[in-house]
Amino acid sequence: MMLSVQGRNGPQSAYAYTGGKPFDPALPCVVFVHGALHDHSVWTLLARWCAHHGYGVLAVDLPGHGRSAGPVLATVQDLGAWLLALLDASGVQQPGQATLVGHSMGSLIGLEAAAQAPARIGRLVMVGTAYPMKVSEALLNTAATAPLKAIDMVNAFSISTLAAKPGYPGPGMWLHGSNRALMRRILNGPNATGCTVNLFHHDFSVCDRYDGGLDAAAKVSAQVTLVLGSQDQMTPPRATRDIATALKARVVQLAAGHSIPAEAPDGLLDALRTALR
């Protein structure tokens, strides 16, 4: 569904996938936040499960990504505030009503939102996360100058297997090809406005620059779960020790790389169901 989200510079059109059912703001709400150069479609299996098991679902396209209008927002803090404004626009107002589930860059956005409005966020699930989420200078430069090559590099680092079963979103899908096509589509999307260089470089820079993670963690009152890929080369599990401690988080490791929602959808669903209890 399309929403009008109030930003610093006025209302901004935003898209949220609702899991195949109309969104009901009276239900407990699960908000899914994608990572760099992705959109809501990385979450559709989980989103459909939640929507058909008693939750209102908002799997967002971040500003400038997919179906959500630009311009992009410059910082994780801005994106966290945008997420809270999206909850306002959706009518999700009750204390603890919202669970935030973020992947990679989206996990930092969830963390920030949970810190900016601790009473509103009951649970936080950070998938494929790390803090700090530093990006190598070589990859940042490649993202700026040769984004298609950088997409191939990220694909190689993000996916741990040549046979991701049972296939996402269904059998017969080739994860490397799907991820490459999605990143290219989002990179060249008509809404990707306001970037200094391009959307890829923008998203990676947002992750790289974010230095408020530990301060944010101190403000979070939500129950936190980290879901990590044991084979993750983008955000390796060892890079979460400090933030996991600061958040008093439950940590779940799955046999997957960084593309956990696509590589291990069943394991991630199990972790999410436990977190939602």
């Binding site: 996938y17 195949g20 959109d39 809501h40 479609s41 559709t44 299996l45 989980l46 459909r48 499960w49 058909h52 997919g66 090559k149 191939d152 590099m153 694909n155 190689a156 680092f157 297997t161 040549l162 046979a163 079963k165 049972p166 296939g167 996402y168 979103p169 269904g170 059998p171 017969g172 899908m173 080739w174 490397h176 090809g177 799907s178 096509a181 999605l182 290219r184 589509r185 959808p265 069943d266 669903l269």
Partner: protein, 432 residues
């Protein structure tokens, strides 16, 4: 591109989509000859049916062995995924009926396999889908044939019977300017030779019966999606961008930004038309693909030697292979097919129908049959077989002469193939 990217072609041909079997440790892909798969619980069953989980329910819709093949061909073509079908014809039918219905229209190359021509010109027309045929090299013709109700453009990468090379960059640009996808039949050009997505095609299908399986043992088809076509932006495809009553009001382009076409094709066309591939067939095609790079190199190498011999032979009037400068598609072939133009081509024997028959009957290594892409060399004389009802004038209109011979070059010793052909040419000469 190896390194910080996907593995290279040869590695993907062996490994993409396959992993040691988690329950037995079997390294080769097992054949899952099971119609159906046990649910863990009622809730698990419901979530599979409602696309809340990914998994296998019933082998008409998906199967673990078949899924390995689907992932593998998608990897080799640079696509997002694939659907295996009962035949190449079933793949073409699935592609068209996913995108077009009664009252809609296809623009297709006139240089098509006869079975594809039959489907488009007779069978689909009976169901309300019309086709306009254009010469594959007539770019203005492609553009002019597009109507408001057109839903796709379609051609063969190497067209029948003359091996016209489809100008994929130009035809795809024409399609995209009209908000339409380009579907190509890449049966004669397996991905070792050509990856049509790299040049602008949106959808590919193969008769996997041919080079992909490679051994003349099974019939099967594969339909691959690039994930590059924006069905929402096009505005022509409510089948993908509007709620579908046949699957809980699902909007496929919302469910999967880059996999919408395959979701709809599987959830509608495969489910309802039912032209699925047997897991045993999938396994045999996987066996073929594992050696595809090695076989295609040999197919092309042998073909070049045979073409060179025939082009210089006094009993041969013409050889139709795009690597020859005399071929009308030579320049395009150099651009799109630098590794070779495949292993199927035709040549014209100097002489009559009866000399053509004599030539065929004198061959000892080449097998006389109606197929191509086998590891064994094959031959057919259209004037005495597939087109025997036509007189010479009708044959000429189809681009076929009384002495036209089609060869599919296999993996035998090239010297033996050349000796076989030379000897048969001598017999044909004496049959005048």
């Amino acid at each position: 591109m190896p390194g910080y990217s996907d593995p290279g072609f040869d590695t993907l041909a062996l490994h993409a989509g396959a992993t040691p079997d988690p329950s037995t440790g079997a390294r080769a892909t097992p054949i899952h000859l099971s119609t159906s798969f046990v649910f863990q619980s009622s809730e698990h069953a419901a979530s599979l049916f409602n696309m809340e989980r990914s998994g296998h329910v019933y082998s008409r819709i998906s199967n673990p062995t078949t899924a390995v093949l689907e992932e593998r061909i998608a990897a080799l073509e640079g696509g997002t995924g694939a659907i295996a079908t009962a035949s190449g014809q079933a793949a073409l039918h699935l592609a068209i009926t996913t995108l077009a219905g009664a009252g809609q229209h296809v623009v297709a190359s006139s240089a098509l396999y006869g079975g594809s021509h039959n489907l488009l010109d007779y069978t689909l027309r009976r169901f309300g889908i019309a086709t306009t045929f254009v010469q594959p090299g007539d770019l203005a013709g492609w553009r002019a044939a597009i109507r408001p109700e057109t839903r796709l453009l379609f051609g063969e990468t190497l067209g029948n019977p003359g091996l016209d090379v489809l100008d994929i960059p130009s035809v795809s640009a024409i399609a995209h300017d009209a908000g339409l996808p380009l579907l190509v039949d890449s049966t004669f050009t397996p991905p070792w030779l050509l990856r049509p997505f790299d040049h602008g095609a949106d959808l590919i299908f193969h008769s996997a019966t041919k080079f992909l399986s490679g051994h003349g043992t099974v019939v099967g088809g594969l339909l691959v999606d690039s994930g590059n076509f924006d069905w929402d932006a096009s505005g022509h495809f409510p089948e993908l961008s509007a709620p579908y009553d046949g699957f809980h009001g699902m909007v496929f382009s919302e469910e999967s930004t880059v996999g919408a076409f395959l979701l709809r094709a599987r959830r509608e066309g495969l489910r309802d038309f039912g032209a699925c591939m047997s897991p045993h067939t999938a396994w045999l095609i996987l066996q073929g693909i594992e050696t595809l790079p090695l076989r295609m190199a040999r197919h092309v190498d042998n073909t070049r030697k045979v073409v060179a011999m025939l082009a210089a032979h006094p009993m041969v009037a013409r050889v139709g292979y795009p690597e020859l400068e005399s071929h009308p598609s030579h320049a395009l072939a150099r651009q799109l097919l630098p590794k070779g133009c495949g292993a199927v081509f035709s040549f014209d024997l100097k002489g009559s129908r009866s000399q053509g028959v004599a030539f065929i009957e004198a061959l000892k290594i080449f097998s006389h049959l109606a197929n191509v892409g086998d590891c064994r060399s094959l031959v057919i004389h259209p004037a005495s077989t597939t087109h025997f009802r036509m007189d010479d004038a009708a044959l000429a209109r189809a681009g076929i002469g009384p002495g036209t011979i089609r060869l599919s070059i296999g993996l035998e010793d090239a010297d033996d193939l050349i000796d076989d052909l030379k000897r048969a040419l001598k017999v044909a000469e004496k049959a005048a």
